[in-house]
């Protein structure tokens, strides 16, 4: 079976080699600064001067841009149009369609907001492209994230795709009982219960066994956990993280001060 794990792309790059926490802090910092900084051009600057270079440094250019074109661009374009048409504000009208107005102000704000969203999604995309989910969760757990929380996230990444195979079998089984999955819309709506029902009930039946299985491997043990993988955290990175946090604080402070 094709083993593409969620987003992660295995490659050797300076970003890949960073400690997961550093990448999380970096992503969050970029987002917080993009959203809080009082300077209008911040999100755009971050996108051009941080996001795009990062995709090159991290050697995930192809994957990032593929995702950008398929998901990010359509979404933020849609957001832009909606905001441009509906944001209130008194200023010069630059465009009118079907009685809806696009003003100078609304266009500016829409552009800024759309870019902010683009920065947010892009930061996390780069994070996920360069960090193995297992490593990310291990590191966060080590720093205090509850083990059960980390488990739910990781297990979902693997188990949900497996459940797709189960869903396929359910569909086949019900089709073999004459369930029509190809005719009118209403028939197909009626087909939902026979398809979703077994998936849900069947999964519930298995949940108990699954819980017992991980319990049998000490999952709820109160002992201090160890980690099989050593995830290095050089002091240089710790400095970088504090620097980033410092920048975020400045950005927030400026916003508060100027408002």
């Amino acid at each position: 079976m094709h083993e593409r794990l969620s987003f992660f792309v295995k490659r050797d790059s300076p970003i890949h080699r960073l400690n997961p926490m550093t990448k999380v802090v970096l992503a969050l910092s970029l987002v917080l600064i993009a959203f809080s900084s009082p300077w209008y051009w911040t999100p755009q600057a971050i996108f051009l001067l941080a996001i795009i270079p990062l995709t090159f440094i991290a050697r995930v250019v192809k994957e990032y841009w593929s995702f950008f074109l398929k998901v990010i661009l359509p979404t933020v374009s849609f957001l832009f149009v909606m905001q441009a048409l509906f944001l209130p504000g008194e200023s010069r009208i630059i465009f009118e369609i079907f009685g809806l107005e696009v003003t100078e102000l609304s266009a500016q704000l829409a552009f800024r907001n759309a870019t902010r969203i683009a920065v947010m999604v892009s930061s996390f995309t780069i994070l996920l492209l360069t960090t193995h989910p297992s490593e990310l969760m291990s590191d966060l757990t080590r720093r205090g994230l509850p083990g059960q929380f980390a488990y739910v996230i990781i297990a979902s990444l693997q188990i949900i795709p497996q459940m797709q195979a189960k869903a396929q079998t359910i569909i086949s089984a019900q089709r073999s009982r004459g369930l029509d999955t190809q005719s009118s819309f209403f028939r197909r709506v009626g087909a939902i219960v026979p398809l979703v029902g077994p998936l849900v009930f069947g999964s519930l039946v298995e949940v108990e066994e699954r819980a017992i299985a991980i319990e049998a491997r000490g999952f709820t043990s109160t002992r201090a956990k160890t980690s099989f993988h050593e995830i290095p955290d050089p002091s240089s990175e710790r400095v970088i993280r504090w620097l980033l946090i410092f920048l975020v604080i400045i950005s927030l402070a400026l916003k508060l001060w100027l408002s």
Partner: protein
């Protein structure tokens, strides 16, 4: 309702060639078991019988109907398929409604549906449990509900995918009774099974598959005689067949009656 398979080839979208030229016929009313290790293509083959899969090359005809020309829902009138895991089928409030699901989809009127449901429940010893929620039943009885759901469709051909996996001896006996009852009604029964003893005792014809091809196809006793070829499918012969061979019986035996008959012959000879 004859089944004709002509030079069937099938390759999965991912590129795996699962069936590499299968040709065989199953006349109406025959009981066939298909054996072989996982990956041999058994399930892939039977999924062609109700149109869940369509040939990459070759043809599958059900009673003269080409499976490529009819939807799965349409073919379900002729071919019933009992999947291995009942929990991948059950969803209704109670057993009665669950078993009625199939016949209703096939367009029977309510009287007919009721009659088919009652009949199927009687055959699977579930008559008292019409109002019970399937998930309140043990896995053993959920299996019987799944069987009843397909029997109620009254199809001339019924396929069982690993019916005895995980079942205890009593349920295996019940399932064997169901298969016998279907045989008495003239239904064609096709089973995929790892349980070679169950296969030997309940089926007249055995098809052994390996790597997408049919290695052996014939009457049960004849197939069981070919132990070297069977060994390549990693299927151990049935217990009594092995015993008979070690005792030097002239004929291959496949169940207790044949074994005892051979034993008696050896006394009188």
């Amino acid at each position: 309702m004859n089944i004709e398979i002509k030079d069937l080839h099938f390759t999965y979208p991912a590129g795996v060639e699962a069936l590499r030229g299968i040709s065989l016929n199953v006349p109406a009313g025959e009981q066939v078991a298909i054996v072989g290790q996982n990956g041999a293509g058994k399930t892939t083959l039977v999924k062609h019988l109700n149109g869940l899969l369509l040939p990459t090359r070759g043809q599958v005809l059900i009673g003269g109907w080409a499976t490529t020309k009819h939807s799965v829902a349409k073919l379900a009138k002729q071919v019933g398929y009992v999947f291995q895991n009942p929990d991948e089928q059950l969803f209704s409030k109670n057993v009665g409604m669950e078993v009625a699901f199939g016949p209703r989809n096939l367009g029977f009127n309510s009287e007919q549906v009721q009659s088919l449901v009652n009949d199927a429940l009687a055959m699977t010893e579930l008559s008292g449990k019409t109002e019970t929620n399937p998930y309140d039943l043990s896995p053993t009885w959920r299996k019987m509900v799944a069987l009843a759901s397909v029997i109620a469709m009254d199809t001339p051909i019924v396929i069982f995918d690993e019916p005895t996996t995980g079942q205890d001896a009593m349920n295996i006996t019940r399932i064997a009774h169901v298969i016998r009852a279907l045989r008495e009604r003239g239904k064609t029964v096709i089973t995929i099974t790892h349980d070679i003893d169950f296969c030997a005792e309940n089926f007249e014809r055995v098809i052994a598959m390996a790597q997408g091809k049919v290695l052996l196809d014939g009457k049960t006793n004849e197939v069981l005689q070919q132990d070297e070829i069977l060994a390549t499918t990693y299927v151990d012969p049935p217990q009594l067949t092995r015993l008979g061979k070690k005792l030097g019986f002239k004929n291959t035996v496949r169940n207790q009656e044949e074994f005892l008959a051979e034993l008696k012959n050896n006394y009188t000879s």
